[in-house]
């Protein structure tokens, strides 16, 4: 797969074309997701993605960045995340150093010194500011449900007008808004006000055929038969009652592990030694082993 020239958001003519571009970067998506991404680019609206862990939400943002030849700027959310970690912060050590240097040089003009201290070069851009200042860029706000709701309200403000005000410097405006992908695992309800600004897409696990295609696309080393077997087993695992049903990420890990071991097909022996690549809870492994690995594999 040769690297194609970066495409700008305006050049993409239709969802189908975007799907093709994503495909070229080894991300296979269906009509719904392709339409969602296409509209996000065209309408300049954030794309709000929800779905089980491992269905490819984060991966989509990464691939979009590759398609657009734009840097991916990632803001990982967590409880207690605040503006100084998401927007900007002043580089205090450098400010102090500057102060000392000025002192040593005998600068007496305090007002001027203070002006210098709040110069752009002492401002540390955190992800949101960086995304606004980088054109083009893809901003990934990952796992928003982990942040507190105060942060959500704050994010709403940034995402609605794409400007950030630094009291000492003034307002910084995005030349062109970044492409924004917000992901959530639904541990907490995200405010409707934020969702309203976004295009909402619920990402499902892929169908069997699509999952086989994804495996073959991402791991060309895997034989067609192996890809089919792994995808079938993954689909069956999702029907089981597991703590963490495997996502596409786990299916790929599993296939990768099998390929690394030189396995040509998935049989009870190879499945047993690689089970840890697809099931990440001891209880899940025990449950599957108790039911017999053959039950996962029959038919192929």
């Amino acid at each position: 797969m040769g690297e194609s020239a970066p495409t700008t958001a305006e050049e993409v003519a239709s969802p189908a074309e975007l799907a093709g571009l994503l495909d070229r970067h080894a991300y296979l998506c269906d009509d719904g997701l392709a339409t969602a991404c296409f509209l996000a680019l065209r309408m300049g609206r954030p794309l709000f993605l929800e779905g089980e862990a491992g269905v490819g939400k984060t991966e989509l943002a990464k691939t979009l960045a590759r398609v657009l030849g734009a840097p991916l700027i990632r803001l990982q959310c967590y409880e207690g995340l605040d503006a100084s970690q998401a927007l900007y912060d002043w580089d205090f050590p450098r400010q102090l150093l500057h102060l000392r240097a000025a002192e040593a040089a005998g600068v007496a003009d305090v007002a001027r010194l203070e002006g210098e201290l709040y110069d752009r070069r002492f401002l540390l851009a955190r992800p949101l500011l960086r995304a606004l200042e980088t054109t083009p860029s893809v901003l990934l706000v990952d796992e928003l449900d982990r942040a507190d709701d105060e942060f959500e309200a704050f994010l709403l403000e940034v995402l609605s007008d794409f400007t950030i005000t630094v009291p000492e410097l003034g307002t910084i405006r995005a030349e062109r808004p970044p492409v924004v992908v917000v992901t959530s695992n639904r541990t907490r309800e995200v405010h409707d006000a934020l969702k309203r600004r976004c295009l909402y897409h619920w990402l499902e696990h892929p169908s069997f055929e699509r999952e086989v295609a994804i495996i073959r696309r991402r791991l060309p080393g895997a034989a067609g038969r192996l890809a089919g077997q792994v995808a079938r087993a993954a689909q069956r695992l999702r029907e089981r009652d597991l703590l963490k049903p495997p996502g596409v990420a786990e299916t790929l890990d599993w296939t990768g592990a099998l390929v690394a071991l030189g396995a040509r097909e998935l049989d009870p022996g190879t499945a047993a030694v690689t089970l840890g690549a697809v099931l990440k809870y001891r209880e899940d492994q025990q449950r599957v082993l108790a039911g017999g690995l053959e039950a996962l594999l029959d038919g192929g």
Binding site: T35, A36, L39, M43, D82, L96, E114, T187, E189
Partner: protein, 370 residues
């Protein structure tokens, strides 16, 4: 384009009539999305609407129904709301009035009457006493204990605060005279209440849900409430109404399974799968209010309680029957759950609910263990 707009606005109206979120802003977004797509392609129309009119996986099935109905020519019927269940206010059949076991209550002084009321089992109250207890529960402070947050606030001592120190230094023309400090702020710990509303809990469910409402009011967004019975229902939004009676009415309408059986193990599993494991239960104080009368598999309940124990900061179990003389946790479900419970309390009377509030707030922990 004109009739496309009309058609789509009509469609949005159908979605709204069926209970979906299709406010003007969303409808605008839908029309804007269609501007970029091929309006003659049904799939494009479907996705333009779905991406803008839905905001929740729960909306998707309704959207699909509306889409199928509207674009096949038929008009979608508005979704039928389940008939509102009335919060049970009946007393236990064996105790028709509040007189049993309380001799001399009528002539007692008002203060001591309130005192007596505090200790009385809520299942044995008259309607008037019940209303009084409801009023007292609404006044209860059931806020959570606090945990350290990542954020900082200015403090007299603690870590150095470089920002404020630099600003202070600047104010003094570069003289580092005063060091400023900051310390981690604290935030309320998350509280999750799971209230069993099955038949055997009937006399207590109302009081316990009112307690949950008081907790939600004291703890704000850090409190989540679920009802359990035969189906797990998230009641957080319903209980956010300020007025206790409005909140209770909303909750009773939302709960589909009043007075049914109990499948606590399965519901706890659903709670952990859908919400708990991903964050709601992590580091939270989880209160389960149930008599542990498990109709399902007690082993499953034990397994899920062990899981919950590993996720939660503390697990409190309130069993109203615990207060009965001679109570032993013999019900299979209760016995399976107990090893994974940090605090085992009763929650059958006003006084017991006050104790529960203290436990939620992190006081007196561990001493209630049977």
């Amino acid at each position: 384009m004109r009739d496309v707009t009309e058609t789509m606005v009509g469609f949005a109206r159908t979605v709204r009539a069926a209970g979906g979120t299709a406010g003007p802003e969303r409808v605008q977004a839908m029309l804007a999305a269609l501007d970029h797509l091929d309006v003659l392609d049904p799939s494009a129309v479907y996705w333009a609407g779905r991406l803008t009119l839905c905001a929740d996986p729960g909306d998707l099935a309704r959207y699909d129904r509306c889409f199928a109905a509207y674009f096949s020519g038929a008009t979608a019927r508005p979704g039928r709301r389940p008939p509102p269940a009335v919060v049970r206010r009946t007393a236990l059949p064996g105790a028709p009035d509040g007189a049993s076991g309380e001799p001399g209550a009528p002539e007692a002084a008002a203060a001591s009457a309130a005192e007596v009321l505090r200790e009385r089992d809520v299942a044995r109250l008259t309607a008037a006493e019940r209303a009084e207890v409801a009023r007292l529960i609404a006044l209860m402070d059931a806020g959570a204990e606090r945990r350290r947050s990542r954020r900082f606030a200015p403090a007299p001592a603690g870590r150095l605060d470089p920002g404020r120190t630099v600003r202070e230094t600047l104010r003094r023309g570069g003289e580092t005279a005063l060091l400023r400090h900051r310390a981690h702020r604290t935030r309320p710990r998350r509280v999750v209440l799971i209230v069993d509303v099955s038949g055997s809990m009937g006399p207590y469910a109302d009081a316990l849900l009112r307690f949950a409402h008081a907790a939600a009011r004291s703890g704000g967004r850090a409190v989540e409430v679920f009802s359990a019975g035969t189906r797990l229902t998230r009641l957080t939004r319903e209980l956010r109404h300020r007025d206790p009676d409005t909140a209770m009415a909303a909750a009773s309408e939302a709960v589909p399974d009043w007075s049914g059986g109990t499948r606590l193990g399965e519901e706890l599993k659903e709670f952990l799968d859908r919400f708990g494991q991903r964050g709601l239960a992590r580091g939270a104080v989880v209160v389960i209010a149930s008599d542990g009368w498990e109709r399902g598999d007690a082993a499953l309940l034990g397994e899920q309680m062990a899981r919950l124990g590993r996720l939660a900061h503390r697990v409190v179990w309130a069993n109203p029957h615990k207060a009965r003389p001679g109570y032993e946790p013999l019900a299979a479900g209760m016995a399976a759950a107990l090893p994974h419970v940090d605090d085992f309390t009763s929650g059958h009377s006003l006084a017991a609910l006050e104790d529960l509030a203290r436990l939620v707030a992190g006081a007196g922990r561990g001493d209630a263990h049977a």
